[in-house]
């Protein structure tokens, strides 16, 4: 059966970006995010073989199996994606990395490693699929659950939430965004911008758990999110090769930020002015949203041009994992020289 199949500039069909069938619950926000990852990478023309995936443990961390089957992936330990990815990426620093973690994985057991990965500016798209609940262990409160939240069999949550964007920003993250799985267009645009960023891109995605935490009035639910999401700006990702047409916009209503690979994010002003290159504004916006219980979405902060972890290593051009014995074993003469040194 000959059907015309659409391909991207890399010559690949969208199907070639897919993963195995998801085993998550039907309607899970994570599935929607996996789809947007597929869409973003397809549209970015990034070849799957040039991507490496990492995750920790939890529902979110299963999801890398559900996209990019042709990419290497490592589903490691609970809360330890940060270290696994940091080491794993040294094998071939030309690869693009995407990590998928959850609110338990990042904001509880993996908080230390997360913040250190941010601090090192490891060039990875770090996605937190945040639903405020432990899904795989059946509905315990997570550290991002709002104070006062009541869950079946769990009672009332006594503690205030950890704000992943705030934690990232406080650790000097170079790209911080929040989005909502119920807003796939924004998820995709933010993902595309994140893949063009050379450094850590932390994306906190509110991703409802339809089974354990989808009450109409709760912050992490579809219903509440859809009714209350308030975007900072309208985001359009413009690939490096595309010309930007902004004549549609009134002057002063948009801001462009040029990313590492020459791509641009065009941010169209909505209700208020917002400058995502101003870290003070970012702190203020996140704090204000938290105080007022707003689901504020968008790119809080971008700082292009900060050296990444790998920039601080003067590594050979060839990927380290392709080096051979001749490049790795010092000569016999060098050992003789050392021997002399140890005789003195």
């Amino acid at each position: 059966m000959a059907t015309q199949t659409q391909v991207n500039l890399a010559g690949l069909t969208r199907n070639e970006y897919k993963g195995s069938a998801s085993t998550l619950c039907q309607g899970c926000g994570h599935n929607s995010i996996s789809n947007q990852i597929v869409a973003a990478l397809y549209e970015l023309n990034i070849v799957p073989e040039n991507v490496v995936k990492f995750s920790g443990i939890g529902c979110s961390s299963k999801s890398p199996a559900y996209f990019l089957n042709r990419s290497f992936g490592f589903n490691g330990l609970h809360g330890r994606m940060s270290s696994l990815a940091t080491g794993g990426m040294f094998g071939d620093v030309t690869l693009k990395a995407v990590g998928v973690s959850g609110d338990g994985d990042t904001a509880s057991i993996g908080m230390g490693g997360f913040k250190h990965m941010v601090r090192r500016n490891v060039p990875i798209v770090y996605i937190v699929e945040n639903n405020g609940v432990y899904g795989l262990t059946k509905g315990q409160f997570s550290a991002t659950a709002e104070k006062g939240l009541e869950l079946k069999h769990r009672g009332r949550n006594a503690f205030g939430p950890v704000d992943i964007c705030m934690e990232a920003l406080a650790s000097n993250a170079t790209f911080v965004a929040r989005t909502f799985a119920g807003d796939p267009k924004q998820v995709k645009e933010i993902l595309k911008a994140a893949f063009s960023h050379n450094g850590i891109a932390v994306i906190d995605i509110i991703s409802p758990c339809v089974t354990f935490h989808n009450k109409e009035d709760s912050f992490h639910s579809y219903t509440w999110g859809k009714a209350n999401e308030s975007p900072l700006h309208d985001i359009s990702y413009v690939a490096p090769r595309d010309e930007i047409f902004i004549e549609d916009y009134e002057e002063g209503t948009t801001q462009e930020v040029t990313l590492h690979d020459g791509a641009t994010v065009v941010l169209k002003k909505l209700e208020k002015e917002y400058d995502p290159c101003n870290i003070y504004e970012a702190f203020r916006a996140i704090e204000e949203a938290e105080q007022n219980h707003w689901l504020l979405t968008g790119i809080f902060y971008i700082e292009p041009g900060v050296p990444t972890l790998f920039d601080s290593y003067n590594l050979v051009e060839k990927p380290l994992n392709r080096l051979t014995e001749a490049e790795l074993r010092p000569s016999k003469e060098s050992l003789d020289k050392l021997t002399k040194h140890f005789k003195l």
Binding site: E49, L77, G87, Y313
Partner: protein
């Protein structure tokens, strides 16, 4: 010129009987006072004089102000283990002098800073006061450096009194300060003045002397941690992540020191390796495993507490089949324990690490040269078997400077194991075969792996710590699980040819066997000679790796009784042997002891003799 003062008293039984190149000196100082330089100069000068020598640092877990000791044993016969009593004590610390006197042999010598008021000097020892303050004052040293050069006073006085070659001392000093003239001059001025003072003011009335011996041609002086780092570098170390911990820090720090000179591209100056100081041991092993998965020769180095934290991650590496090398420079546990003292207490920990059925290859180097050798070999084993390899040393081996055989350059090409690149996968596809990450196609339990960056569209796989089939798909199928676990067992247990074989030494008419491992080897060698001198010949097997080789089994079966000697409370090696060779359980006698100090030959001999009487 003042009149020479004789030593406080003559000790008749020793007078006139010279003791040459066979005694132990302990230098008692306060830590943070710069005594390491002084001690190292004496140690290395003696080595340069051709005298077999060993130095052991007994130090506190503290930066400044607590007592620290350095013992130098000279032995013309080459016995380099710790001895329990001193022939010479050099006391610079008033706080500890009384206890040091308890551990001196009859006829021993006490050098002491003359501002120390000593009470109750033993009748049977010789004392020499040292005018440390006076000599420093006269030497015109800037006040801020006085404390640091004060120890050079004892270098000068002791070197003169035991008859060291002062030319050699100067050369060692010059080498130590890498030719920094100012440092060399200021220190030498003190050494020279102190030696001169001794020659004019002290009458030698003790028997201890050194004499030059033939050059120790095939030997070097090095600490185990440096040797371990270098062995790893010559094994092609590409990635190490580490977290500071005594006594392992200097292993990673040595790698940091030597990698740039050995492993930067000669043309571009760019690095073929990366070192990351991690935020904790969890991250250190995580990064190392990530890098191992990505195809780098990867390792971490730590001590017991770090291994405890790494336990979960090592189970992941075992199960997902990731090569990684883990050094455990053992200190005294449990808990924080004695961080600056030595032990062999983490052996069963290494054997049983992580939850579920696991098994780790364990290498047990016995000296610094073997640290070098196992350093490069461990990568070959880890990559061939796609599994973690643990190397256990200890504080004594790792941090002290040892006289050991020169490092041998690797005599085998690197074994990178079963790795498929783009064209290898293509070949399989062309042949109509399917590649599965965990498929045992060769029947040896070892599957083929691919590495991230392999652009063949069929190369990628999804590694996971959850149950998986040969194609890496998630699986809870009972048969798939059991099959996978059986293959892992087979993989480790059916490749014993890769693990270093035990070293066996025999004597005619041996009465029993001795088994030991690691840093206690020097004490065992000496103990066996002492036993032989009492007409008790012994055979000796030094375990160098676990899983045990068949030779270990044969050895155990060859004797009515075998003493298993080790530096822990519970006899951990004996426990492991008894598990594998339960039929020999009653023949194995544990000789185990741990108090933080390296074992002495004397303790081993006495312990075995006591057990023999039973």
């Amino acid at each position: 010129m003042s009149q020479k003062q004789p030593a406080t008293k003559e000790i008749p039984q020793k007078a006139g009987k010279k003791i040459v190149n066979d005694f132990c000196m302990t230098f008692s100082t306060i830590n943070g006072s710069g005594s390491a330089t002084a001690n190292s100069i004496l140690l290395r000068s003696l080595f340069r004089m051709g005298i077999p020598v060993n130095g052991k640092n007994i130090f506190p877990s503290n930066i400044q102000g607590l007592p620290t000791w350095y013992s130098i044993r000279l032995s013309k016969k080459g016995y380099l283990a710790r001895v329990e009593k001193d022939d010479i004590v050099v006391a610079m610390n008033p706080a500890t002098i009384a206890s040091e006197m308890q551990f001196m042999v009859t006829g021993a010598v006490l050098f002491y800073a003359d501002d120390i008021k000593i009470e109750g000097v033993r009748e049977d020892i010789i004392t020499y006061p040292m005018p440390v303050r006076k000599l420093i004052k006269e030497a015109d040293v800037p006040p801020n450096l006085r404390d640091y050069v004060a120890n050079m006073v004892y270098v000068g006085i002791v070197a003169h009194m035991i008859g060291m070659d002062m030319d050699t001392v100067y050369k060692t000093l010059d080498y130590n300060f890498k030719g920094n003239k100012k440092a060399v001059d200021s220190n030498w001025k003190i050494i020279e003045a102190a030696a001169k003072w001794a020659s004019e003011n002290l009458v030698k009335s003790d028997p201890y002397n050194v004499e030059k011996m033939p050059e120790l041609k095939d030997y070097i002086m090095v600490d185990g941690n440096t040797a371990s780092a270098l062995g790893s570098i010559y094994g092609g170390l590409q990635f190490t992540a580490w977290y500071p911990i005594t006594p392992a820090s200097s292993l990673a720090e040595s790698a940091i020191e030597y990698l740039p000179q050995l492993r930067n591209d000669p043309e571009t100056g760019k690095a073929t390796y990366a070192v990351v100081q991690a935020e904790d041991e969890l991250a250190a092993i995580g990064m190392a495993i990530g890098a191992g998965w990505a195809g780098l020769r990867s390792m971490t180095s730590t001590s017991g507490p770090g291994i405890s934290l790494m336990s979960e991650y090592l189970g992941l590496a075992y199960f997902t089949e990731v090569p990684v090398v883990v050094w455990n420079v053992q200190r005294v546990g449990p808990s924080t324990g004695l961080p600056t003292r030595t032990a062999q207490g983490d052996l069963t920990q290494a054997a049983f690490l992580s939850h579920g059925d696991t098994q780790f290859v364990i290498l047990l180097p016995g000296c610094a040269s073997e640290c070098f050798e196992f350093g490069w070999k461990a990568f070959d084993i880890a990559e061939r078997l796609q599994t973690p390899v643990m190397i256990l040393t200890d504080l004594d081996l790792g941090m002290n400077t040892h006289m050991v055989k020169t490092f041998k350059y690797p005599n085998k090409p690197m074994d990178r194991g079963k790795v498929l690149w783009e064209e290898d996968i293509q070949k399989l596809v062309d042949e109509g075969k399917i590649w599965g990450r965990y498929a045992d196609v060769d029947g040896d339990g070892i599957p083929y792996r691919t590495l991230p960056g392999n652009r063949n569209t069929r190369a990628a796989y999804f590694a996971r710590g959850t149950g998986h089939d040969e194609m890496t798909r998630y699986s809870e199928d009972p048969a798939v699980w059991e099959h996978g676990m059986d293959r892992l067992k087979k993989k480790i247990s059916s490749h014993k040819e890769l693990y270093p074989r035990p070293e066996i030494q025999k004597m005619d008419g041996a009465k029993f066997g001795i088994i030991a491992y690691g840093s206690t080897g020097t004490a065992i060698d000496e103990a066996r000679d002492l036993l032989a001198a009492r007409d008790i010949p012994t055979d000796y097997l030094r375990v160098r790796s676990i899983p045990f080789n068949d030779e270990v089994c044969d050895f155990l079966h060859a004797y009515d009784r075998t003493y298993v000697v080790e530096m822990n409370r519970d006899g951990q090696m004996r426990q492991l042997l008894a598990m594998d060779y339960s039929d020999c359980g009653s023949r194995m006698v544990s000789v185990a002891h741990t108090d933080g100090m390296p074992l002495s030959a004397e303790w081993i001999v006495n312990s075995i003799l006591k057990l023999e009487e039973k």
